[in-house]
């Protein structure tokens, strides 16, 4: 056993907690990690409430309010390396879809125009006010390592944590979800875009080839492709691939449109128009990141306003 264990802090911001559950879900391998690292602060596991100094700080979740921002800054100060864990921390995740709405609209729907709420009280005392936007972590503090995924599969988490402990780069590569999908790609006569609930897809053929808007080809594999392998489209939960992020002229909708046009009888523009019409669904996990939002043709607010009338 090495004399000095790697010390570890974790923190969660505006999140569901699934990435932390993912760490606990290393199950029987958890003691391996615990044996190699010394966990100092981890709100779900330990009773340490401050931010002790640590080699590594893992942060789950995006910044939604001032409390999140201060927690992120305190972690940055206390930890030598910061890991953005999960799609929310890296791209904003589903809570990032609040990008399409003002704070007032959100508070109104939750506390005022709400079916079962009999008060008109909007919390304002004692609670940290919402910031205008949901902000991915690296727009608030410098991040040293990104591990998106909703949550990342245990295989990536385990390797990622061990890599940090051993001081080596993690093995996670740049493959798309298609890489581990068992389905076969072949040109078909599909001429209509299908939603998840429509028909029963053939179990062996690529879902996109069958007319389903599967985002596997434009989504980073941090999951081992369970969705298409279980008959469900990839919804892009680990965020876009590097090609989409890095090149200004490529985007989720155009890439899927091009591919669909090659593989089916569905026209490129029809597929693009469908994705734009339901942009809130198809960009749900990554709309809050500047890497997507900064593309000059990405008009998410306009598309969403169109659908919501």
């Amino acid at each position: 056993m090495s004399p000095a264990k790697v010390t570890l802090n974790t923190e969660w911001l505006s999140v569901c907690g699934g990435c932390h559950v993912g760490i606990v879900d290393l199950h029987e391998r958890l003691p391996d990690v615990l044996g190699a690292a010394e966990i100092r602060r981890c709100p779900v596991l330990t009773d340490v409430k401050s931010y002790p100094e640590a080699d590594v700080g893992i942060i789950e979740g995006a910044v939604r309010n001032e409390h999140d921002r201060r927690a992120a800054e305190a972690m940055r100060k206390a930890c030598r390396k910061i890991v953005a864990l999960g799609t929310c921390a890296v791209y904003g995740g589903i809570p990032g879809a609040a990008l399409a709405h003002s704070r007032e609209e959100i508070l109104d729907r939750v506390y005022v125009r709400n079916r079962t709420t009999k008060t008109n009280t909007v919390p304002g005392d004692e609670v940290s006010p919402l910031e205008k936007m949901v902000t991915p972590l690296d727009e608030v503090i410098p991040v040293d390592l990104y591990l998106p995924g909703c949550p990342p599969h245990a295989a990536f988490l385990f390797d990622g944590l061990l890599a940090l402990i051993q001081g080596r780069p993690p093995k996670a590569g740049g493959e798309s979800v298609c890489g581990r999908c068992r389905r076969t790609m072949s040109r078909t006569g599909a001429d209509r875009i299908l939603r998840l609930h429509e028909g029963v897809p053939d179990p062996d053929t690529c879902l996109l080839c069958q007319g389903y808007l599967c985002l596997g080809s434009v989504t980073l594999d941090r999951c081992l492709s369970p969705c298409p392998n279980n008959g469900v489209v990839c919804t892009g939960c680990a965020g876009p691939t590097m090609q989409i992020l890095a090149e200004p002229n490529r985007d989720i909708r155009t890439e899927i449109g091009d591919r669909m046009a090659r593989l089916t009888k569905i026209g490129r523009d029809d597929a693009v128009a469908e994705i734009e019409r339901n942009a809130k669904t198809h960009y749900a996990y990554a709309m809050a990141t500047r890497m997507i939002g900064g593309k000059s043709t990405f008009l998410i607010r306009k598309w969403i306003a169109g659908q919501e009338g």
């Binding site: 969660w12 505006s14 569901c16 907690g17 699934g18 990435c19 559950v21 993912g22 606990v24 879900d25 199950h27 029987e28 958890l30 003691p31 966990i39 709100p43 779900v44 596991l45 330990t46 009773d47 340490v48 409430k49 401050s50 939604r64 309010n65 809570p95 879809a97 609040a98 399409a100 709405h101 959100i106 508070l107 729907r109 506390y111 709400n114 079962t116 709420t117 009999k118 008060t119 009280t121 909007v122 919390p123 004692e126 609670v127 949550p151 939603r195 998840l196 609930h197 429509e198 029963v200 369970p226 969705c227 279980n230 008959g231 469900v232 919804t235 339901n278 809130k280 669904t281 659908q307």
Partner: protein, 472 residues
Amino acid sequence: MAKTIAIDPVTRIEGHARVRLDMADDGTVAEARLIVNELRGFERILVGMEADRMPLVTARICGVCPSAHHLAAVKALEAALGIAPPPAAVLLRELLYAGHYIHSHALSLFILAGPDLVFGVDGDPAVRNIVGVVQAAPEVANRALALRSLGQKINEMVGGRGIHPVTAVVGGTTFDPEPEKVQVLRNMADRGLALARELGRAVKELLAKRIAERPEFLTALQQPIFSMATVKDGKADVYDGRIRLVDAAGAVKAEFPPAEYETHLCEKAFDWSYMKPVYARSGGQDHVYRVGALARLNCADGMATPLAQAELDEFRATYGRPCHLAVPQIQARVVELVAACEKAQAIAADPAIRGDRRVPVRFRAGRGVGHVEAPRGTLFHDYEVDDKGIVRGANLVVATQQNYAAINASIKQAAGAFVAGRGDDRLLNAVEFAIRCYDPCLSCATHAAGRMPLEIEVRRGGETVRRLGRTA
């Protein structure tokens, strides 16, 4: 002079929160508040999304009980469309859910509350965690991790993914129960049941020991209030059935289908917390009520399976019926852990899972309410959908917000018994322990708000005199 005590953050719970205790001049606790400081606004975010994606998207409300949201969402949409999934699909969803219950209750029992049971509430905070438990009681800890892992593997195999499952689709399930998978599921369920019984005994012994050490756990922490839970033919059921509301004496005050939740429940916001408490309307009044494992045992006539029924008999013999004690909620989870393992075993052995698994679906304009018993209590999803299958309205009532009023009252009781008039910060954990007994999940409750480490802030005359977050 009045003072305020703060615990910030409350730790070993699912989500972020702090506790504020306002002390009166005579040193007693005037008011106790659990302040939840996160809001994500799902009720607004979901509007405008494709309805068929709700089971996938709303799982992201909570990484602790994603399967509950996954299933409540799919049931709500099916209610809106007036369709029923085939029996095999229902069985497979229940199997997924049994796996989830094992996983979730094991988390609560062994990883969140376990350290308090093993070390006592005033144990050294530096070791009072799962790492400490692994070192102090490796046998129990490793079995607990193994049981939790089995639960998650069942959930993952049937649900496609463990955290944020995907296979429940409107009209059925996409999971194909191939024979070799079913054999694996059967083996896991068998092993799970053996482990659950063994660990259940360990939990009950430790709990009895802690109660013997501090009888105040029973005498100070009790609240005679209403209970609400789902029953099917009178038996506790976590996937489907009617919702039963019983009063503090155990008398049934209402039994209704989930679609009528709006008539029986109302939310009332505080201006000091993002989480909204919920009250049950009965006899022209709004009542504080509890949901979750203890409420389910209080509402049900019995359990559907024999070993769980034996656990229930033992529970009732020890703590009475209805039970209004906060601490035995831990043991109520043992009853349900055994029930979930028995359920998984029965479904995995049922040839009916090989039947048709999907019915055709076409969206039309409508509204539907779906519910399940999430591990922490009754969960409602309510959607309005248009004829193109786009969500036009969404309302969510989750477990922990329904326990909110009861949790605040337990905090006050715990603070009165363990904090007021004492200078011992170690007992602050007793306040957190009282909260942990409810296994609150603030991620859920903050679909609306999220997060729950705890800080206790003690205030007197409006000024903070102590901040007990072990922030030093």
